[in-house]
Symmetry: C2
Subunit: 408 residues, 2 copies
């Protein structure tokens, strides 16, 4: 009897609106490959591997698998566990061996690509035959070696829409609430906050000020910009990235407390908008409101980018094809060949190169005032938000799938 050659899919880190589209691409493609026998998933990312919590994706049925494309967040479950010890890597390979896993598809951000890289290296060292392919996923858009990351197009499409809609509120109520502040995710990279610049169809439109972590916060220059818009327009909408820092390196959103760091040592941010609100009320002496969309922004599948969703799916498909051709130790990448008309193909990058890298917003894409983005950035970002993923609605609300996850 032939030994099984199974594949295992896992999702990791912060969810996005399209991470399940990548999983769907892997699963549907794997079903068409004779090289692959069982199609397994780990429950909650690498934690599921470590705990031996593996479930069979063929048992979920084709309707549930197709429904992944319109279901936000990580349907396989995710985690923020950092694989730290050599023993943990031993356990991972033990579990792989037990479940006859010969293909490992890991959908995640920087830390996940690092984990995938170490699993790949350890398998080689131990002489365990394994093909490991990383699939990029992060709203933060901060992965090295790829033009952009699946999840980014959808988060900026949704956050730009929120900004446009809330800005009309501020404009209408400017005699009472003339300043509004919206907090963007993105950790130390300003990509998400920058993406809201797409909302600005003309000079007077919001957002009027974008605060990026790539620029130290300059309170006086900021106050002068707010004053400018209040006197010229009578209202001002500000997007502030959660990762903006003071010149001394401290976060605007500095938070104390035992849960302020995750297990990777990343600081959990939140509170930048409130800081700016207080500053505006104290220094500019007008009333300010603020919004913190938090995890809502990254799960907006009811208004996700079709381009983003399709690319996420394609990367999943191509990952299976690459592995079936014998590729390992690589992450799938997106390679843009043209801005207009937008064309993008997939490629491969070494996991080692991607692992734990961080791609910041190019300095030359930030406007001279430090509060805006250049046309070059807009040319980069605009194609990523095109098209709307058709949402599945039932009774006025989105309809999602939930996997049965019967553990093996």
């Amino acid at each position: 009897m032939k030994t099984q050659r199974n594949c295992l899919i896992a999702q990791s880190g912060g969810p996005t609106a399209v991470i399940n589209a990548s999983a769907c691409g892997v699963i549907q493609e794997a079903m068409g490959h004779n090289e692959i026998d069982e199609i397994y998933a780990a429950n909650n990312g690498i934690l599921g591997v470590l705990n031996g919590e593996i479930f069979d994706l063929r048992a979920e049925g084709p309707h549930a698998i197709e429904g992944l494309r319109t279901t936000p967040s990580a349907a396989l479950g995710s985690c923020r566990h950092k694989v730290g010890t050599s023993e943990e890597y031993d356990t991972i390979l033990d579990v792989f061996q037990r479940f006859h896993v010969r293909f490992f598809f890991y959908i995640g951000g920087n830390d996940s690509q690092d984990t995938a890289n170490k699993v790949d290296q350890r398998a080689r060292q131990d002489g365990y035959e394994l093909l490991t392919i990383g699939i990029p996923k992060t709203i933060d858009n901060d992965l090295a070696c790829t033009d952009h990351c699946p999840g980014y197009g959808s988060v900026i499409k949704y956050l730009a829409t929120m900004t446009m809609e809330a800005a009309r509120d501020t404009e209408a109520l400017r005699t009472a609430d003339p300043v509004n502040i919206i907090e963007a995710m993105g950790r130390n990279a300003g990509w998400i906050a920058a993406g809201t610049a797409l909302a600005k169809r003309d000079e007077d439109e919001a957002p009027h000020i974008i605060l990026l972590p790539e620029r130290d916060f300059d309170g006086n220059a900021f106050k002068a910009r707010v004053d400018h818009f209040l006197s010229s327009l009578g209202w001002c909408v500000i997007v502030v990235s959660e990762g903006v820092k003071h010149p001394d390196g401290s976060y605007l959103a500095q938070q104390a407390g035992e849960f302020s760091q995750d297990s990777f040592g990343h600081r959990q941010l939140g509170g930048a908008a409130m800081y700016i609100k207080d500053l505006v009320e104290r220094e500019v002496k007008v009333k300010a409101r603020f919004a913190v969309p938090s995890t809502i922004q990254r799960n907006g599948v009811h208004f996700a980018s079709l381009t983003d969703s399709n690319e996420a799916y394609l990367l999943g498909q191509r990952a299976v094809q690459a592995a079936c051709e014998g590729t390992s130790g690589k992450m799938m990448t997106l390679e843009r060949t043209c801005d207009d008309p937008y064309r993008c193909d997939t490629g491969l990058a070494a996991l080692a190169e991607v692992a734990n890298g961080e791609k910041l917003l190019p300095d030359e894409w930030i406007g001279g005032d430090g509060f805006s983005l250049t046309q070059e950035f807009l040319r980069y970002a605009r194609p990523l938000i095109q098209g709307e993923l058709p949402a599945i609605i039932e009774g006025g609300l989105p309809q999602f799938v939930r996997l049965k996850k019967k553990l093996i």
Copy 2:
């Protein structure tokens, strides 16, 4: 030469996703009535009347008027000005006389209906011929005499969707971030927070706990519910209304500072979610995240309720019809005749009855645990979120109209 008989439309208070649909209904209906000559709008609500800032809606063009249906917030401009003095009412009637205003349509919430009522009474006293009709508008759904208020269906459809989407994030990341808290608007009425119960399609679905201002906050009972969901499901999503209070009457969101009250003396709330987050982390000892959608929730025209939008439009139309039949001193109301199939007609209520009333969530619609809603509430709310207003998208983002507002 015949003296002009003009109409004036104004919008007031917090914007909604469909307040412009009501304006559109008034304008398009008024265009078909010979009794009405010019169709004017006040810039920024009653402030525009007081300042004589009046503009001609016929000059805006039919495309812009039709585009109001898919443009959020208050396109005529809004305000939070409380008409207080007798001199201000004199000024309003002077301006009406100057612009030959004989029809006054005021789209707003409690305070606006109060203002409309006083304008109507003053006109009668002074013998100035004026027909005043109020058109209800408030996401808070707290107006007396009407089954529900335009704006409510859309805010709960959108907030329930946000809750469903963010809940999937919490579920997927429950090993890291097991608790998520979403703050709902609604001041002292729990209608909006209650509406997120529609997201809960089965027992395990979010929101697991809904904190309503109609119930004093009971920290121990709350903690027990959180513990229950964490041990049974491993995750817990909480919707907290901004207006929830401690048993001593103080707000969870108690905020100090000079801008903490608007000119009606309403306390500006915000911070309830952060209070709950801190409490969960301190008392339950797990990490919690929170989101404050703030004004984003009331402007979500990209996913607005078609039922809500159509009713808002209809009320505008019927207001004009009522005024042209000689009605004055009334607010248009929505009168439901059947839940399933949903049928709703319009009616009229005396402005004096509506003015400054506040309709709380019926006590019997709150579940026995104080953290949930009954089937009766769901039967009431479900029809209001049905259908999706077709959004106008250009280049991946919504397209709104902006009126030229050339002042006369």
